[in-house]
């Protein structure tokens, strides 16, 4: 298949998605719409973390920290001065943040850039360590951010968090950012840069002995991943309408890691499908946290039971599908067409 055909098909597909978004925004049940929004935010998070963990092989646990930076930065930029005033009643917000208000789009971009900057500052020293050590360092970073945001009363409003954020986030935003993330990551991965990242994952010594600057490329993956995490954080903040430092705990990172492991490390298609499925399953499984009666025994509702089910799912996946549900099979238009031609052959 020619490249131009593939691009054309992709454009048609994207138009189709937007047609869906158009009708969904108009007629869809707000509850489902909310789940979809969450799903697309998970897509951004999963695909961007996959760039770091899956393709570059640098096991990072810092994604929640980058999200927090993106969420707070953008929220402080798009909130109205009055809303900020009512939020910061303990200590006033430092100037000039208390007067600034910029459009949602730019606030999200700045949030992403701040997260990317944090990614560089954290990545530069910590990417010298590998494997488990990197996981610990990035986890530490994530906790530092949480603790910092809990204590910077006059910037983040401390543990009180920010409330009454305006709901700008809708399917147009989340879908567009999810598409951008997927395209950018897929393009990187398929390019010469992607080959360099994968070579680092496969064998650092060999990669370095082919003249690939390990440090530069690891930081690159880290910064791009952090940028999209920041964007996702900003979108999530405006969707939930309230953010506090503790909502960006390590548990959030674990959820994203669960998604990319279920979908397959280094598999974008897997991340996308599982991320949206994850959002729906999270809602569908809400009943397990309710009090229930089994064989006459009343079990009180236990918060967090849903995660237990995901843990079991993850274990089953690792036992039976070691490379995730999708393995190494990526979505391609060639494969898509083959799916139909094969069916035709069967029908004849």
């Amino acid at each position: 298949m020619k490249r131009s055909t593939r691009v054309l098909l992709s454009i048609l597909f994207i138009i189709l998605i937007y047609v869906f978004v158009f009708f969904a925004e108009k007629y869809m049940d707000p509850f489902i719409k909310r789940i979809l929004n969450t799903g697309f935010i998970y897509v951004i998070l999963a695909v961007s973390l996959n760039l770091i963990n899956g393709f570059t092989g640098q096991f990072s646990l810092g994604h929640a920290g980058f999200m927090a930076i993106g969420a707070y930065t953008s929220a402080l930029l798009y909130m109205s001065p009055e809303s900020k005033m009512s939020n910061f009643f303990m200590e006033p917000l430092i100037s000039p943040l208390d007067r600034i208000q910029i459009p949602f789009f730019w606030a999200i971009i700045v949030g992403g850039l701040m997260a990317a900057l944090a990614g560089f500052i954290v990545g530069a020293p910590s990417l010298r360590v590998r494997g488990d050590y990197l996981a610990i360092v990035t986890y530490g970073f994530s906790e530092i951010i949480r603790s910092l945001f809990n204590n910077l009363q006059n910037i983040t409003n401390g543990p009180l968090g920010l409330k009454g954020l305006p709901t700008y986030t809708n399917l147009w935003w989340t879908v567009s950012w999810a598409i951008i993330t997927v395209i950018v990551v897929r393009r990187i991965v398929d390019s010469s840069y992607g080959r360099a990242l994968k070579s680092i994952r496969d064998d650092e010594v060999a990669a370095e002995n082919l003249g690939i600057n390990l440090f530069k490329h690891k930081v690159l993956a880290f910064v791009i991943g952090a940028f999209f995490a920041g964007v996702a954080g900003g979108l999530l903040g405006s969707l939930l309408m309230t953010i506090d430092p503790n909502s960006f705990s390590i548990l959030f990172t674990y959820q994203i890691i669960t998604i990319i492991l279920l979908g397959g490390l280094g598999n974008i298609t897997g991340s996308v499908v599982v991320a949206i499925g994850f959002a729906f399953l999270m809602e569908a499984l809400r009943f397990v946290e309710m009090p229930m009666k089994i064989f006459g025994i009343t079990i009180p509702g236990i918060l967090g039971m849903r995660m237990l089910i995901f843990s079991i799912l993850l274990m089953i996946t690792i036992l039976f599908f070691r490379k995730g549900l999708f393995g190494e099979r990526e979505f391609t238009w060639e494969g898509f067409v083959r799916l139909f031609t094969k069916r035709k052959v069967n029908q004849q």
């Binding site: 840069y193 496969d202 082919l210 390990l214």
Partner: protein, 271 residues
């Protein structure tokens, strides 16, 4: 040590490509390489031999700065590379293969070679993501060069196979092709014939001589298989316990009693 004072080679008027002066490497109390000196001329094919643990691979690791030298100086094309980082040294024009094959396991044969072109990629990340014309041109160039290299070593029919699914001998050839993709002037081959059968070894000899000619390479080869060393090398350096014990042409080395002693223990003249 008679053989250490080699006769003047006819290559002496050629330019020096790699110069190593008094290079020593100590790991704690262990001296892995001791006072190693080398003056490698352009186009030369040098063999590095010695019993296991003699320090041969360590010398390769020192040249490409996998770890730093303890003492001494390494110069490549007149430039001091002793303190440069590995990836920088490679980009200057040194390439190597590994004793224990190090291919990228998740990639196909073709992708393994294509990866090696990345070090000299001129397009920035943005042009690669946006697929701008300058990147497109480079990517096309990488594709055609990769194809040529695969043909050169005779693995073009395996282009889309997983690299690690290849038989051992072909994996070695793929590693050589991948090393060539970095556009080296000096190629370091670490036991290229290990795991090859006699036929494959003969083929390898031919391949090494061919690529030297075609890519105008200077080659250092570490090898235990004497059929390789004695047939293709013009000069041989023998190491034992990190010390250079002999240097000379294949004929000289074969007759050298010190070398025979190092390999066989007692001075058995008939060996």
């Amino acid at each position: 040590m008679i053989a250490t004072q080699t006769i003047q080679q006819p290559t002496s008027e050629k330019k020096t490509i790699l110069r190593m002066e008094h290079v020593t490497k100590r790991f704690g109390g262990l001296v892995a390489v001791s006072d190693f000196n080398l003056d490698l001329k352009e186009g030369e094919l040098l063999g590095l031999i010695g019993p296991n643990g003699a320090g041969k691979t360590t010398i390769f690791n020192l040249i490409t700065h996998v770890f730093p030298v303890t003492e001494g100086k390494i110069e490549f094309m007149g430039r001091d590379i002793t303190k440069l980082k590995t990836d920088k040294i490679i980009r200057l024009g040194i390439a190597r293969t590994f004793q224990n094959i190090r291919l990228f396991g998740s990639m196909t044969v073709k992708e393994n070679i294509m990866t090696a072109f990345h070090a000299h990629l001129k397009s920035d990340l943005f042009s690669a993501v946006a697929f701008l014309p300058n990147y497109q041109r480079e990517e096309e160039h990488i594709h055609s060069m990769t194809w040529e290299l695969m043909k050169e070593v005779g693995i073009e029919h395996l282009a889309d196979y997983k690299a690690t699914s290849l038989p051992y001998g072909l994996q070695r050839k793929l590693e050589i092709a991948r090393a060539l993709a970095t556009n080296p002037k000096l190629l370091l081959l670490d036991e290229p014939a290990a795991g090859m059968n006699p036929d494959e070894t003969l083929e390898l000899n031919k391949l090494i001589l061919d690529i030297r000619e075609k890519f105008k390479l200077t080659i250092i080869v570490i090898e235990h298989d004497m059929k390789v060393i004695m047939n293709i090398c013009e000069r041989i350096i023998v190491l034992d316990h990190g010390v250079t014990i002999a240097e000379g042409t294949p004929e000289e080395i074969q007759k050298n009693p010190v070398v025979i002693k190092a390999y066989l223990g007692a001075g058995d003249e008939d060996a």
